[in-house]
Amino acid sequence: MADMIEIRWHGRGGQGTVTAAKVLADACLSSGRHVQAFPEYGPERAGAPLRAYNRISSKELRMHCPVLNPQIVSIVDATLLDSINVADGATKDAIFVVNTAKEPKEIRAKLKAEPAQKVFTIDATKIAIDCIGRALPNAPMLGAICKATNIVTLENLLEDVRKSFGKKFSQKIIDGNLEAARRGYGEVKEG
């Protein structure tokens, strides 16, 4: 991939999207790269649409502004597909990872994806409910992104999920999130 990878996250307040961007930054850091993770701050309300960003680069990151041309777009809440243009500014070969039970082909059509753009789907909410008993799709989304983009190894990712969730949560929740990330990695579909 290019020297610098830019990622844009679309989620809703309360889904752990900002945490996911942070975990991804940390996981990429451990492979010696420069990283950034930052949300767009607005009125912080559960359910309100939000964006978060990552930059990952082999060189020092000096750019301090939102990502306008993402190579990776992560859509944590598929209801956003109806209300905002998540493909706005995405590169011609961008990778979309969408949390949905629907088939990648259907989502590809909905996104009006260009030929070189890749569309992946993962039922991250269902995996989260199975593994941790709550609709917090961030861990399976991270697993799916890891598989779809190869920006970080699954081992590094799991290590950082363990570290990040370990600060706040019980062993049961940590184990659930690790399993959820593994399943996201295993169950992501391309179309």
Partner: protein, 394 residues
């Protein structure tokens, strides 16, 4: 020296530096986006990781008053604030500097009310530029961390003894995670050294008075002394930076000059927007356009001679301000840059742009716009609009 590579927010980095310095006293009051610094620091206090006496004040006015009392008593003191918090400290800022108290304060830059806005711009710091404090400005989390550590050495230098404000951009830096390097705890401790109190109130064997009444007979001499001390600051900032380089392997000056040596046109800009501008300058350089950038670090006292000398060879300079000085005048950074070039008769043609107020994004296209215009100005010697707002609805 062992450095620890981490991915942290600007606020987290500043709080970490404060833990490593382990000040004697802190008095603080929360305000977005600086709250997180003291929230993290008070956790260090609660967990016994620092020995700091933590005073949770009922307002920023009280917080700065507490810092002044503790500093005059003979302690190493720090605090953090933003925006309205700094505004509420106003009279105390002058008392801290006039009493020559080496307090260190992180200022997480945020717009001023009204209208209420919690996002980043430089109105707060610029409003306090003439209050007798030293100001260091920081591009990213690394610089905010490094400046915080160096601030203690500068403030407490026996030839200075003045308070220092360390400025970093609200949200853009304070709340964004970036890769940076932490210095080893012992190296920071040794670098900062033991605090040396000067005329401490608690030395009851040698009683002193702070805050006396000084009438027209001596007030002016007192102010002149302050101005003379300020003049010594740049040299000491450079000495401290040299020592700092030994523990961190990172160089600091009074400002950063980026690709300026052979440049024909240049941008002057503070803090996080400088990083975005440097990337844009690189892309113009690839097209053969000789653009450069100057990013002030020591903003107060302003190193007029050094900056004037650095910019005088350019054909055109655009100064970008993230604050306006109302009243039909120019942005505060522009005013100082213009003053620094005043002695140079054949200096560059100047223009001023106001950007990014209240957290409005500063995008690569804004730097491109400024540089394209500079190319034109360098050719014609003519400026169409001396001062304009960019990235704004008409």
């Amino acid at each position: 020296m062992m450095a620890k590579v981490v991915a942290v927010t600007g606020n987290e980095a500043v709080a970490y530096a404060l833990r490593q310095v382990n000040p004697d006293v802190s008095a603080a009051y929360p305000i977005t986006p600086a709250t997180d610094i003291m929230q993290r620091f008070t956790s260090y206090v609660s967990n016994g990781q620092v020995k700091t006496e933590m005073v949770l004040a009922e307002s920023e006015h009280s917080a700065m008053s507490g810092c002044i009392g503790a500093s005059a008593a003979g302690g190493r003191v720090m605090t953090a604030t933003s925006s309205q918090g700094l505004a509420l400290m106003w009279e105390e800022l002058f008392i801290a500097s006039g009493s020559r108290l080496p307090i260190v304060m992180a200022l997480v830059n945020r717009a001023l009310s009204a209208p209420l806005n919690i996002h980043g711009d430089h109105s707060d710091g610029m409003g306090a530029r003439d209050c007798g404090w030293i100001q260091l400005w920081s591009e990213n989390a690394q610089e905010a961390y490094d400046n915080t550590i160096q601030a203690f050495r500068i403030a407490e230098h026996m030839d200075v003894r003045l308070p220092v404000m360390v400025c970093l951009d609200g949200f853009i830096i304070s709340h964004s995670i970036e890769r940076m390097e932490y210095i080893d705890d012992d190296a920071v401790k040794n670098f900062v050294g033991a605090f040396k109190a000067v005329n401490p109130l608690l030395d009851i064997e040698h009683p002193v008075s702070y805050g006396p009444l000084i009438l027209p007979d001596y007030y002016m001499e007192y102010r002149k002394a302050h101005a003379e001390v300020m003049a010594k600051v740049p040299g000491i900032v450079l000495d401290v930076a040299k020592d700092f380089e030994k523990i961190a392997s990172r160089k600091y000056g009074l400002f950063e000059a980026y690709r300026l040596d052979d440049a024909e046109i240049g941008i002057v800009i503070l803090n996080s927007a400088a990083g975005t501008s440097k990337d844009v300058i690189d892309s113009f350089r690839e097209k053969g356009i000789k653009a450069g950038l100057l990013k002030p670090r020591l903003f107060r006292p302003f190193p007029y001679d050094e900056i004037g000398n650095e910019l005088k060879h350019l054909k055109a300079v655009c100064v970008l301000d993230r604050a306006d000085a109302f009243g039909g005048s120019y942005g505060p950074l522009f005013i100082d840059i213009a003053a620094s070039l005043y002695p140079h008769k054949n200096g560059p043609v100047l223009s001023n742009k106001i950007y990014g107020l209240g957290g409005r994004d500063y995008l690569p296209e804004h730097a491109e716009y400024a540089i394209n215009e500079l190319v034109e100005i360098a050719k014609t010697g003519k400026v169409k609009t001396l001062k304009e707002y960019i990235g704004v609805r008409e």
